[in-house]
């Protein structure tokens, strides 16, 4: 029996940062020395390959594996920088119905033998792709922006995690972690944005991390590096590293990292803070 942990990164709403989070956390886990596989479940609209900078090296994909056209080992793309980090890409040309429940089950159960952590990047929505991504998870990271529609969609997803997963069907309760992304402390302070406590109160899911709104996220995606590998000192990278340590079971308080100001920054920007 393997000791692998399958974690789904999900949100319901699109554009909140599931793929950024999947790449950042998978890389952070790999940096900690674990064998890690990230799976893109967004069949037809894959993007995890692009965010991880592996797009030029994709040959086979999840649908090829599910259909028996390639083995898992053939489809896995090794990361350029970390040799213990792998990507199982989604298919770009087919639609989500190309994935079968049995196919996904067998892929996950085989991956459990090779890896310590399997990170499933869920598509947006609550349809087949999203339910298959969460189906075999042992834990869930729920990604929300501090914004009303995102929080509402997370609530819907929490309902699905408690009903449509194997853990739930076997009478268990899926451990869930809330990750708030694109957070702006200044706007939360002035009351223009939901604060982390508000979101935690509404969803009743323990907080695993708060990722501040950061220019470094876009810069990292431009060059095809997970933000945790692109610029380790950036606030977003530090927040993702912290969240990863909590995922690994460390009991550390949640902080919201801020931009480290250089000498000029301190002189010129100090008054604005």
């Amino acid at each position: 029996m393997s000791n692998a942990t399958v974690v789904v990164v999900t949100s319901g709403k699109g554009g909140v940062g599931k793929t950024t989070t999947s790449a950042a956390i998978a890389s952070a886990l790999a940096k900690e020395g674990y064998q890690v596989c990230a799976i893109d479940f967004d069949v037809g609209l894959r993007n995890l390959d692009l965010i991880m900078g592996a797009e030029r090296r994709v040959v086979f994909d999840l649908v090829n594996v599910v259909r028996g056209e390639a083995t898992i080992k053939q489809a896995l793309v090794r990361d350029k920088k970390l040799n213990n980090l792998f990507l199982l890409p989604a298919s770009q040309t087919r639609d989500k119905d190309a994935l079968t429940e049995e196919g996904v089950a067998s892929v996950i159960s085989e991956l459990r033998h090779y890896f310590d952590w399997i990170v499933c990047d869920s598509p947006a929505g609550i349809e087949r792709g999203a339910t298959l991504a969460m189906r075999h998870a042992d834990e869930a990271i729920i990604v929300s922006n501090p914004e009303v529609s995102s929080v509402r969609d997370c609530d819907r997803i929490i309902g699905l995690l408690d009903a449509k997963t194997q853990v739930a069907e076997q009478g268990g309760r899926m451990p869930k972690h809330l990750l708030i992304t694109r957070y702006d402390s200044a706007r939360a302070k002035t009351g223009d944005m939901l604060a982390t406590d508000d979101v935690v109160d509404i969803l009743s899911v323990p907080l695993i991390g708060v990722i501040p709104e950061s220019k470094d996220v876009l810069k990292a995606s431009n060059v095809g590096l997970p933000v945790t590998l692109a610029d380790e000192g950036s606030p977003a990278a530090r927040a993702y590293m912290e969240a990863t340590r909590r995922l690994l079971g460390e009991n550390i308080p949640v902080t919201i990292p801020e931009e480290k100001k250089g000498l000029f920054g301190k002189i010129f920007k100090g008054r604005a803070a």
């Binding site: 692009l50 797009e55 030029r56 090296r57 040959v59 086979f60 994909d61 090829n64 056209e69 390639a70 083995t71 080992k73 053939q74 770009q92 040309t93 876009l218 810069k219 995606s221 431009n222 060059v223 095809g224």
Partner: protein
């Protein structure tokens, strides 16, 4: 953060992004299903040739592709069993 950034040099990440997208989209618009089929057949052929000399695990043959603009490279990685390496 390098010394040039002190003098206000613009970050180049956007041009990297544009270049990556141009390569990727040119490839995707052309239809990329040929790649998988080609790799699959190449793999079979190479496996057959190697298997004539060495008893290898089919899973120990990895083919990797890297597309860069007009140039696509194919890497073949065959893991030889310890006994085969010595025998040859």
């Amino acid at each position: 953060m390098n010394i040039l950034s002190l003098f206000g040099k613009r970050s180049q990440s956007a041009s990297v992004a544009k270049n990556r997208l141009q390569i990727l989209l040119a490839h995707e618009r052309a239809g990329n299903s040929a790649d998988a089929a080609l790799i699959s057949s190449l793999r079979e052929d190479i496996l057959a040739v190697v298997a004539k000399r060495i008893d290898i695990d089919p899973d120990a043959v990895r083919l990797e592709m890297d597309r860069d603009g007009d140039v696509t490279t194919l890497g073949i990685d065959i893991e030889l069993p310890p006994s085969a390496a010595r025998a040859s």
